[in-house]
Symmetry: C2
Amino acid sequence: MNATSPGADGAPIVIPARRGVAVRLVQGEAIKVINTHGRQVVDTWAFNREDIGESMSMEHSRTAMLKVIPRVGDTLLTNRRRPILTWVEDTTPGVHDTLIAACDRHRYAQLGVVGHHDNCTDNLADALASLGLKTHETPCPLNLFMNVPVGGDGALKFEPPVSQPGEYVVLRAEMDLIIVMSACPQDVTAVNGMMPTDAHYAIV
Amino acid sequence: MNATSPGADGAPIVIPARRGVAVRLVQGEAIKVINTHGRQVVDTWAFNREDIGESMSMEHSRTAMLKVIPRVGDTLLTNRRRPILTWVEDTTPGVHDTLIAACDRHRYAQLGVVGHHDNCTDNLADALASLGLKTHETPCPLNLFMNVPVGGDGALKFEPPVSQPGEYVVLRAEMDLIIVMSACPQDVTAVNGMMPTDAHYAIV
């Protein structure tokens, strides 16, 4: 990110409802991801800018954090166990998700949708394509603001976010990276309160 | 698997301590994975036999099962949300894991091991190479018999398995597939009771 890039002055930039954006960060820069309307899940991925095969991994991060959900001070790791993002601020109640796959065309078909439905998997691919990049796989995303409580018996539920409008998290880049954020278009289950909206980000 | 393949008569075949094996199954065949000595984790992957890019996915399976740990009757899905393995029998207390990455050379270095240490990621690669196959990524494994309890606050702990010698699970193939099982060589944390051992499998 250089000084003339969008968002480099800290002004919020839109993540349009149902769409994804890719942003380059250099090591030490931080990004604020804002739940502008309070009930929007933002599926988030990060990739080593020098090698897209190295990506943020929920299963490697959980192993190191010994937690299902990151908290301030935790560092997320890549699939090579290197630090990629540190969780430096969180003004939400701390409800996020690392367990659930990005939605995709197959998910909506199984939920009864006929024909095309926007989805986070395609949003990731489109956002990376805007930078001329492509991945072999869709890594499990960091689902910011997503509310999937784990019951005592390991049961999972899809619930609406509990964050309030304007609450945010700040993530610091631990390497030069590309971060992709998708304002999840899920409107069949309650994960976005049944109404996908814009979200915003800012380089801080 | 044809009638003359090892294990086709239901006789148990060894998964050597610290090593991995790859087995071809046709749709409808089932595999029994036996915790021979009771305290051995078996990292397990499954791949579409026709397209190794389609693999069993913990995050897609959790989304469909609405559970962290599969139970008898549950079906695990691929990264394209197609059924790949159904959990048809489980004589253990039902403690398994879907949250933790396969161990790898980086994990052991971070745990203080100097030099080579056997690991499940290399075991997967070696087992697939024995069939002339290779994957781009190491999917998050289904960690049979692994005991990583999730606390009420989402905290994770590495504990020894609670299964008894000879207890097993049976998984049925829902497509023609390759299953890879690695007798986890972890001897730095307690996940194998500090003593990696053989396990066994049988086609049933």
